[in-house]
């Protein structure tokens, strides 16, 4: 058990109400104040959904009538003040301990016999982009590099102009129009915008056409790939039995499991198609750990035996993409889609009250000496990869890291049939302990301290394939 000193601070950027219908809000002065909240909960959702927060402030510390506030921006900071033992325990709000940026949607003040509280609920900048419809009335040019095009788009709307586009793909971002066979022709490379299309929908469309994903983190629009988030050097280890509680795994067995992806684009009279995984690049297939053969599904004959008389391909999920005449780009888009769809096979959640990622684990070859640095859990991010292990004394023999005979003997001792024990013992070693953070919730409460709840999903990781 470790000792932490969790602290949270909230910076409010308040635009006061002047009670004049004709006033220009942009000309008013924004007031910045930092308050200490009784409870703060930050919920970071999956990358297509807006993040939310809620907090309670003692009315004594925030004695303002809600009618005096026209709008309110929020930045939330969290930190373990024990990170530097002996240092001052006052939290200095800064970029390194910021965990959330957004604005208040709803403010409530309640008085009763036990409390006098001001309650705020709000969302992050994703919500601004979701709520705001594109009203510029001109098509969007795709003739510049993606980050430049996105920055230009965000600049159209004052509230989002400050969002910075950050490229975390590790490469140069493409010019989307360059995939169009008509690139360079007059009026080519433009995206029409629908009558009620929001900025978020437009951004998602642009990023998807580049074969990437994006999400808002604080005041940044992060561009990346699903795979890039799965960088093993960033793995944080969580071990049930050491620093995790309430661990749950869930697999929807009824869900459609085998699938192929095809991305199509019409080019003149012809349709260009990319099929994944069979047309994926060798580098991607190796990195993602999949074979470049079409995914097949087992089909049973009426007598219950496996039908091997023909190949039975899994269904192709089809995605149309406009104006892409470049097969490599279609493959890139297909690979990204395949990665996203693959993230749905297994999911679960756990809670921890630790503020640092720590604990001892073994690497995939069973090396117990592997060490890792401590990780500040207030700074985790959606999409980050984690390693989840189960390490309790009574389950040691069935551990993923034990050898097959040990696991088999364990099961036989528990009265399993020998054949069943052999198969289960073998397959247990093939599971990867690596998962991806889908969403998480951080709470700092005056009474209960710090709590982190993480929802995770699996990533296709067949690094264990060769293990016996």
């Amino acid at each position: 058990m470790s000792y932490y000193y969790p602290r949270a601070a909230v910076k409010l950027r308040i635009l006061p109400e002047d009670f004049q219908l004709k006033s220009d809000a942009s000309l008013q002065q924004v007031l910045e104040i930092i308050v200490q909240a009784k409870n703060v909960t930050v919920t970071v959702n999956d990358y297509k959904t807006t993040d939310t927060f809620s907090m309670d402030i003692d009315y004594k510390n925030f004695p303002f009538d809600p009618r005096t506030i026209r709008s309110c921006g929020v930045t939330i900071y969290m930190q373990d003040m024990e990170l530097v033992p002996g240092a001052a325990t006052k939290l200095d709000a800064g970029l390194t301990n910021a965990v959330y940026g957004g604005f208040v949607d709803e403010e409530t003040i309640s008085f009763d016999e036990s409390k006098r509280e001001v309650h705020f609920d709000g969302r992050d900048f994703t919500a601004l982009l979701i709520d705001q419809k594109y009203q510029v009335n001109t098509p969007i040019s795709f003739n510049s590099r993606l980050d430049v095009a996105l920055t230009s788009l965000l600049a159209n709307f004052k509230a989002t102009a400050q969002i910075t586009v950050v490229n975390k793909t590790g490469g140069t971002l493409p010019i989307i129009a360059s995939f169009d066979p008509a690139f360079g022709a007059p009026l080519a490379g433009m995206k029409n915008v629908g009558p009620k299309e929001s900025y978020w929908e437009i951004i998602q469309d642009m990023v998807n056409r580049a074969g990437l994903i994006c999400f808002i983190h604080l005041d940044q629009l992060i561009l990346t790939t699903p795979k890039n988030q799965n960088d093993s050097t960033d793995d944080i280890k969580f071990i049930y039995g050491q620093n995790v509680k309430n661990l749950t795994f869930k697999r929807k067995l009824g869900r459609f499991k085998g699938f192929n992806i095809q991305v199509r684009s019409r080019v003149g009279k012809r349709v260009l198609t990319a099929k994944i995984p069979e047309e994926a690049t060798a580098a991607w297939a190796a990195a993602f750990g999949v074979s470049r053969d079409p995914v097949q599904i087992p089909v049973l004959k009426p007598d219950g035996s496996l039908d091997t008389s023909a190949q039975h391909f899994a269904p192709y999920i089809t995605f149309p993409v406009p104006n892409v005449g470049n097969k490599d780009q279609l493959i890139r888009i297909g690979q990204t889609l395949y990665e996203q769809y693959s993230l749905q096979q297994l999911e679960g959640s756990f809670e921890t009250t630790e503020m640092l990622g720590r604990g001892q684990t073994k690497d995939t070859t069973g090396d117990t000496r592997q060490s890792f640095t401590q990780y500040d859990l207030t700074q985790i991010a959606k999409g980050q990869s984690i390693v989840l292990e189960i390490d309790t004394d009574d389950l040691a023999e069935i551990s993923r890291l034990k050898d097959v005979p040990s696991r088999e003997q364990y099961l036989i001792r528990r009265s399993y049939d020998k054949n069943v024990a052999a198969i289960f013992a073998k397959t247990m070693g093939k599971f990867s302990p690596r998962f991806q953070i889908k969403s998480y919730q951080m709470t700092i409460n005056n009474n209960d301290g710090w709590k982190l709840k993480v929802d995770f999903q699996n990533i296709i990781d067949l690094t264990q394939r060769s293990q016996p």
């Binding site: 001109t138 098509p139 008509a182 022709a185 009026l187 629908g194 009558p195 299309e197 104006n323």
Partner: protein, 203 residues
């Protein structure tokens, strides 16, 4: 708002499938593979880029700025926009001849109508039927007259007497009858002219 109305609002199809707008800009691909036009959708004045379609791939009239156009969006997708037709307004009224139910091909002001192969620029003008009919009639009159004169031709011979008509007078009389026949039909009776297709000199 009750639940049903809320659901109806959520699942309402907000896509535009067909719209009406004015042509704001033309962009011809250098290889002629497409004409993209910027259309100013009315009434919201939202601009979209659409590909122009024509009566046929080789029967083409390029629109002009400010023409009113019907724009269709495939499956309501804003990026798959096509101009299907141009629409008449008081600025581009229906041609007078067409108002009586006739089919009309009228070029834009200062433009021509071309009939030819899709790879070349036609330079030969069409012939005006009535003018040609009159010309033919007159020419045939003159030829008939010429034939008659040759068939009846005499002159003073070497002995000081008038000669007889030419030995081929009978053939010339046949020619005269032929010219008369051609003049009567198909020229003067207008069989040489179409009853359904008409053109004019223009300017």
């Amino acid at each position: 708002m009750n639940d049903l109305e809320l659901l109806r609002e959520i699942f309402k199809d907000a896509r535009l499938h067909v719209g009406l707008g004015t042509i704001a800009q033309l962009g011809m691909a250098t290889d002629g593979s497409a004409l993209r036009v910027m259309v100013n959708l009315l009434p919201e004045n939202r601009q979209v880029v659409a590909q122009m379609t024509f009566a046929d791939v080789f029967s083409v009239t390029i629109p002009e700025i400010d023409d009113l156009a019907v724009v269709a969006f495939v499956d309501g997708h804003p990026d798959d926009a096509w101009v299907l037709k141009l629409v008449n307004t008081n600025e581009e009224p229906i041609p007078v001849y067409a108002r009586a139910g006739n089919t009309m091909i009228a070029p834009r002001v200062g433009k021509k109508v071309g009939i030819g192969r899709n790879t070349s620029t036609p330079t030969q003008p069409l012939v005006l039927g009535t003018v040609l009919q009159t010309l033919l009639s007159n020419v045939l009159d003159k030829l008939k007259e010429l034939s008659d004169q040759i068939a009846n031709h005499t002159h003073i011979g070497n002995l000081g007497y008038a000669t007889s008509v030419p030995l081929t007078a009978a053939e010339f009389l046949v020619l005269e009858a032929d010219f008369l026949g051609y003049k009567v039909s198909p020229v003067d009776d207008a069989l040489v002219l179409s009853d359904i297709a008409f053109t004019e000199k223009g300017s």
